[in-house]
Subunit: 399 residues, 2 copies
DNA sequence: GTATTTTGTTTAGCGTCGGCACAAAGTCAG
DNA sequence: CTGACTTTGTGCCGACGCTAAACAAAATAC
């Protein structure tokens, strides 16, 4: 009776990522018959997740009956996405397709303990849900720290002056229950928590510069330190305990600065915004503005030789680290975020040349290196994590 | 009518890896009903791949009807496995379960060009097939070089004095056709080719020290250089073009020896058998005996302070490299082969301590590091690669 | 010896999907 | 404008592959 139950998840993911604009291509992508694809689309529409245009698309030039366009339901359910960073937090409602429906930024003038700030960001999200009246199907939280699995604890939330091992997922889930954020069936939605760079990589893979990549490597800075993430065949690879891609301690300058990890010349201290500012002869400001300060300097004063030299120095070190990662992971695309995105924009060729030169197989076809393209990609990534159960089994969540 | 088609592959893999000793646990592992599991087992038995014991197992102590044991068919079909290394080649027939049915070693006194030696090893394998009269379902070849995908070319067969880019998979497939190695339907079997360490990792994961690991990292030496491999959720991760886990150029000694990659202090030149022999004050012999020479020295003269010191030096460097990999890959187990296996055996605690100390989260639960346990694991791994199509879809190959 | 537990088999039933025919809605050729 | 063609969407049927449930078999437990 209900046709196409197994294909329901894959079909939703295709529409979600914009790879199934019509039922015809959905049929081809799923490898099923038109009958099944039609039933799948009807089912997803009945669930309120996608929309099938009543009018066929305007003439495409090709002959044959025109297809009806598929798209995510514009006022379908959403997920609650939250991000905490050094200078504040941000809550948002995100629909399918990575569509940001509503956002609420928040400041944090004094460092707060994990429970307080997580409560605050959830309260902001719950407010958005009340204002918009949207159904909520899940919730995701991005934090600037490695998050251990399956415990859901933040292992190194250094930039938030939190205690190591803060149980962020539990706190998030409890805050959601307290705030009355209910999912299908009236039960509180479970909270997902993850590292911000990991989640940003997921977002870039689904909706940004990483679309279509099979093995996507992302490297990005916040204010301090360098983070990495890897998406393999569409799934985030976070290692056996969530701690993979801690790339900050690759050695990129053997005679460099000592690092808190015990070694010296780590990527973390040699290629982050603070390192760039120092190299350019500038005095780094407070931690919570390093990224902004570095980015502005790079954008406005690139003609200044000291800035240019510093940019090239940092780019060379980053290139060395990326080359090491290419030798180990062999990705087919690299996306850079934070300061590294700006370094790439300032001089794309230099960085690419260093990576090609220092990676073993660089000569025989180098890896494309692209800047991140999404605004708030960690936030969208938190939403992706929250959507994942729905994408895996729509009926299991909504049935 | 034909019951259990989707579960056929998973079921075969369970029996193949020894995780389904009876139909009862097969039922549980597959998550199907007893009826389906019984039909699946019957189908696999009819295909000649597994055997269902006629007599029930001896009393197990637990009550209830005793189960009939499942095992791989002792005289079922085989695959042709081949390995080429610096001092010769080896051909074998390998059945399901990693059972070596017949082997034929071969020497190579003078360096030969790829086509000649591949022809020779295939001829040896074809001879074994004629002698034993076994059905052949596939063929796999292990070479000491990165193998590019999808081209199937050997990119750095340095130890074989082959030209870089030798099309080993094509040569292998052609040799199989020439030698008349036929599969089901009388068509020549296709040849698979892969890096020896990669294939060894696959073998250790299925039948050796890596059994049950979710994310398995293998690191091993041959005579020169260091190789790595990663098995993720049971599948070999060889990157987007087959070049992943080229771990030989991690920096482990910033002030160390220059490497042909342009850097200095790479794992390749700092932690291979030649480096160990030099550190111990011994004169390295010819390339094709370095591993043997180093292993013997380590086994017989570990009381000699110079040997012990050298072993500890190399182990420390290896530990540094492994720690870097742990930070990036976060595996839940590490298996070491070649000289590294012996270093681990000589002093297990030292290596584990270095890795725990230098990896970021070592304190909160360090990664188990184990020695490889299979003889000829690259050869068995080549067989695993050849079996893969059968494990994925038995009917597609045999139906 | 009977009850209980666990395993294996048979049968019936049903859900899900492919195949096919048909309808719908456009372009193309004359 | 009309008819042929192409492509998309839908309804119906049948087959395949599974579950469920009852039954049978073979051991242990009391």
């Amino acid at each position: 009776m209900e046709r196409g139950r197994a294909a329901l998840g894959p079909a939703l993911e295709l529409v979600h990522t914009g790879r199934a604009p019509t039922r015809a291509v959905l049929t081809a992508e799923l490898g099923v018959t038109r009958a099944t694809a039609g039933a799948v689309a009807a089912e997803l529409e009945a669930l309120g997740l996608i929309r099938v245009d009543a009018r066929p698309t305007a003439s495409t030039g090709s002959q044959g009956r025109p297809s009806h366009r598929l798209s995510v339901a514009p006022d379908g359910p959403v997920v609650l996405a939250a991000q905490i960073h050094a200078d504040g937090f941000r809550a948002a409602l995100v629909g399918l397709g990575g569509r940001m429906v509503a956002t609420a930024p928040g400041c944090m003038t004094v460092p707060a303990d994990p429970a307080r700030i997580i409560d605050a960001v959830v309260a902001a999200g719950a407010g958005l849900l009340r204002e918009t009246g949207r159904r909520c199907l899940g919730a995701g939280l991005a934090v600037p720290s490695a998050v251990a699995e399956p415990e859901g604890t933040a292992l190194n939330p250094l930039h938030l002056s939190w205690p190591a091992g803060a149980p962020v997922r539990t706190l998030f889930t409890e805050a959601l229950a307290k705030a009355g954020v209910l999912g299908p069936g009236g039960v509180p939605v479970p909270g997902m928590a993850g590292n911000d760079v990991n989640l940003a990589a997921l977002a870039e893979h689904r909706h940004g510069a990483g679309r279509g990549a099979r093995h996507l490597l992302c490297v990005a800075t916040g204010h301090r330190g360098v983070g990495g993430a890897l998406v393999l065949d569409g799934r985030l690879h976070s290692g056996s305990s969530g701690l993979a891609l801690e790339v900050g301690h690759l050695t990129v300058n053997p005679a460099g600065l000592p690092c808190h990890c015990g070694s010296r010349g780590c990527l973390d201290v040699e290629a982050d915004p603070a390192a760039f500012l120092t190299a350019a002869g500038r005095t780094p400001g407070p931690d919570s503005s390093l990224l902004h300060q570095a980015t502005e300097l790079l954008r406005t004063a690139y003609d200044d030789p000291s800035v240019r030299d510093a940019a090239e120095l940092i780019a060379d070190r980053l290139g060395l680290g990326l080359a090491g990662l290419v030798n180990i992971l062999n990705p087919d695309r690299i996306v850079l975020g934070g300061l590294h995105r700006e370094l790439l924009a300032a001089d794309p060729d230099r960085l690419r040349a260093v990576v090609a030169d220092r990676s073993l197989w660089g000569r025989s076809g180098s890896v494309p290196i692209l800047p991140a393209t999404l605004d708030h990609n960690s936030l969208v990534g938190a939403a992706e994590a929250a959507w994942q159960p729905v994408l895996d089994d729509p009926l299991g969540v909504l049935g």
